[in-house]
């Protein structure tokens, strides 16, 4: 035996922790069993140094929620118009009253909000972390929240193959993982 039992346990624990850190951390609070079809995605707050990453993530999430989750997503123009009418600055979170008002105006059963916490793209190395959550527009209850962080290196397989060097591609893959986890937890769109 090269390793003792204690050694094997440590190796397995290290591996498990490493893998766990790469997966999105999904918290289901209000519950994914709440049936939501029409969703309004509110422009994300950007806390990173990259000025465009929040919009990039926003556009990708919109695309995925329509194409892969079969949600009826309220067009961004409707959200932006609502924000202009209500004098809400981009990145500002919606109060419950505003969420209710948005429901009345757009018919959205839920809103998705988010924060980009970290975004870097330097020398082919990329890193991104974000926090997303969904609220019921009728009750204001938090339905689920997701925290996710990844680097481009996390996807490297053999040599340089698989490595992600574009921030947008990293965001795309991370959103795939996020939605996949949410799907596993029971989240579905209009198609059920």
């Amino acid at each position: 035996m090269i390793f003792s039992l204690r050694g094997w346990v440590l190796i397995l624990l290290f591996g498990a922790v490493g893998c766990a850190g790469r997966l999105p951390r999904v918290e289901v609070l209000g519950g994914t069993e709440v049936r939501v079809c029409k969703v309004a995605v509110i422009p994300f707050k950007n806390e990173s140094a990259n000025p465009v990453v929040a919009r990039m993530l926003y556009r990708l999430l919109l695309s995925k929620m329509v194409a892969e989750m079969d949600f009826d997503v309220v067009e961004e123009g409707a959200i932006r118009s609502f924000m202009m009418y209500e004098h809400i600055m981009p990145g500002q979170f919606f109060s419950f009253d505003l969420v209710r008002l948005l429901r009345e105006r757009t018919g959205a059963q839920a809103v998705v909000e988010g924060r980009v916490i970290e975004a870097e793209e330097r020398g082919g190395k990329v890193v991104l972390s974000y926090f997303l959550w969904m609220k019921d527009t009728l009750t204001g209850r938090l339905l689920w929240s997701v925290y996710h962080r990844r680097t481009g290196e996390d996807y490297r397989r053999v040599l340089h193959f698989g490595k992600v060097s574009l921030l947008s591609e990293l965001a795309d893959r991370m959103l795939d993982e996020t939605l996949s986890e949410l799907r596993k937890k029971g989240l579905k769109g209009c198609g059920r």
Binding site: P51, V52, R55, M56, R59, L60, L62, S63, K64, V66, A67, D70, D72, V73, E75, E76, G77, A78, R80, S81, G124, H160, F161, G162, K163, V164, S165, L166, L167, S168, E169, D172, G191
Partner: protein
């Protein structure tokens, strides 16, 4: 996503042929939050066009965006979307975001979404990325350039588009009328009317095109070059009637469009001719110096053509003295100075005739017989040398206007007035206490004013004196012959 085929099917069944897609200039996040990328948006638009869709290019859209002062291209509010839809007849709007664009690093990423303007919903989305990693094939086979990868990325981007459904819509033809000519636009009952319509057709040409002519019925159109042509006979009903065109594809698909109106008019432009300044003397209309004809319409309508004629009543009548013809609206007053190309007309009876044609070609003619007085051509003056002076006999023939005032003067050859007399009414005889000298020549001037206030004058005519007791010459009265 699943609604798209259903929507398209509904559109087809409803006969709605709008299937254009307006491609917005793409938002380019590599250039910042307000970046715009025309190149990629144009490439995508071209791809969609190649797929058989009817595409409104970003260059066309951007003009409208600036007109509505829209400063962003990544999203569109409902009102702007609707305006664009109406302007371009576009059912869908394609919005795109360039996420990565770096030819040196072989970095490219784009996200697309199609918005159905009808219910303002996202009906399709797609995105694609490629990077340096994709440039290197597993076995290192290459080299492959930027344009190649860009093309490949666009293939990948649009591969998931529900092409068949979109193509089905794209194949559904769109017809729009770009020009419609109705000739004549105003017609009389029984007249042939021709309508030519130039129709722009996207996609399959219609199997049949029918003109629906109000009060006439359906008329099958013939194709003449770029135009669909139909002919019909105007009905015997007055009014404005519509002409629609109906294009028929197969058994179910029809599109009807209003193209033009035509008018049927059988009423001539009836008017009353008013001779201004004419004096009625013993049932005869007498006009002096200038002729002015005014018009009074029973029902005013636009006039297409008019003709003003004066016919002489001499030598059996009907001889045209003057004729003016012109296109367009008739003047409210016709004024003629009673002159022709060969000079002033003489005193006498004439017929003034005015003809008007309306837009449908209905004509109406009104005429009046008038006596025209132009001069004192028939004024006869005879002068007699008497012991106590000169006696002038004045006789005026063919002058129907009553004379209210007169003045007669006798002049020397040098222009010196020897004597002058004036009075009211028509003078028959005027006497001057002037002794004639046989050596010097005398001249006379006769001025008459008619009751309308016109002055008539015979100026500085040689005065031929006849001694009393000497037989008057048989031939004429001297100056009258000269005249």
């Amino acid at each position: 996503m699943r609604r798209l085929p259903l929507l398209l099917a509904v559109l087809l069944l409803a006969g709605t042929l709008r299937a254009q897609i307006a491609v917005f200039p793409f938002e380019d996040l590599t250039l910042g939050l307000n970046g715009v990328n025309f190149k990629v948006s144009r490439m995508v638009a071209k791809r969609l066009e190649d797929m058989g869709l009817y595409v409104v290019y970003p260059e066309q859209v951007v003009g409208l965006l600036s007109e509505y002062r829209v400063m962003w291209t990544g999203w569109v509010d409902r009102v702007t979307a609707d305006r664009i839809s109406r302007r371009f007849d576009a059912r869908y709007i394609l919005l795109g975001t360039v996420l990565e664009y770096d030819p040196k690093r072989f970095a490219f990423g784009v996200s697309l979404r199609i918005l159905d303007v009808g219910d303002y919903r996202i009906v399709w989305t797609s995105r694609t990325f490629f990077s340096e990693e994709d440039k290197i094939s597993f076995l290192g086979i290459g080299p492959k350039g930027w344009e190649f990868f860009l093309a490949e990325a666009l293939d990948r981007l649009l591969a998931r588009m529900p092409a068949e459904e979109l193509k089905a819509v794209a194949k559904a033809p769109v017809m729009d009328v770009s020009r419609a000519i109705v000739s004549p636009k105003y017609s009389r009952p029984g007249q042939e009317v021709v309508c030519k319509v130039k129709a722009e057709v996207s996609g399959k040409q219609p199997n049949k095109v029918i003109f629906e002519v109000e009060k006439v019925g359906e008329v099958v159109a013939k194709r003449e070059g770029d135009f669909y042509v139909a002919k019909w006979i105007s009905p015997d009903v007055e009014g404005r009637f519509g002409v629609s065109i109906e294009a028929i594809w197969g058994k179910k698909l029809r599109k009807r469009m209003f193209v033009a109106s035509y008018y049927v008019d059988k009423t001539p432009p009836v008017f009353n001719m008013k001779l201004m300044g004419a004096v009625n003397i013993k049932g005869k209309l007498v006009v002096a110096k200038k002729m002015a004809v005014g018009l009074e319409f029973e029902r005013r309508e636009p006039i297409k053509r008019w003709r003003f004629r004066v016919l002489s009543e001499d030598e059996g009548g009907g001889k045209e003295v003057v004729s003016y013809v012109s296109m367009g609206e008739a003047p409210s007053k016709f004024v003629w100075n009673e002159e022709t190309e060969s000079g002033p007309i003489g005193n006498g009876e004439y017929v003034v005739e005015l003809t008007l044609w309306d837009r449908a070609g209905n004509s109406y003619t009104e005429s009046r017989k008038v006596y025209v007085v132009r001069n004192l051509a028939d004024l006869v003056v005879k002068a007699y040398q008497e012991a106590d002076g000169i006696r002038m006999k004045i006789k005026l023939a063919n002058f129907p206007l009553p004379i209210s005032d007169w003045r007669v003067a006798v002049w020397s050859e040098d222009g010196e007035i020897f004597d002058e007399k004036a009075g009211e009414g028509m003078p028959r005889e005027v006497k001057f206490s002037l002794k004639a000298d046989g050596n010097r020549k005398l001249f006379y001037t006769v001025e008459l004013m008619d009751e309308s206030g016109n002055w008539w004058k015979v100026d500085r005519k040689p005065l031929v004196l006849t001694k009393v007791g000497v037989k008057e010459r048989k031939k004429g009265s001297g100056w009258v012959d000269d005249f």
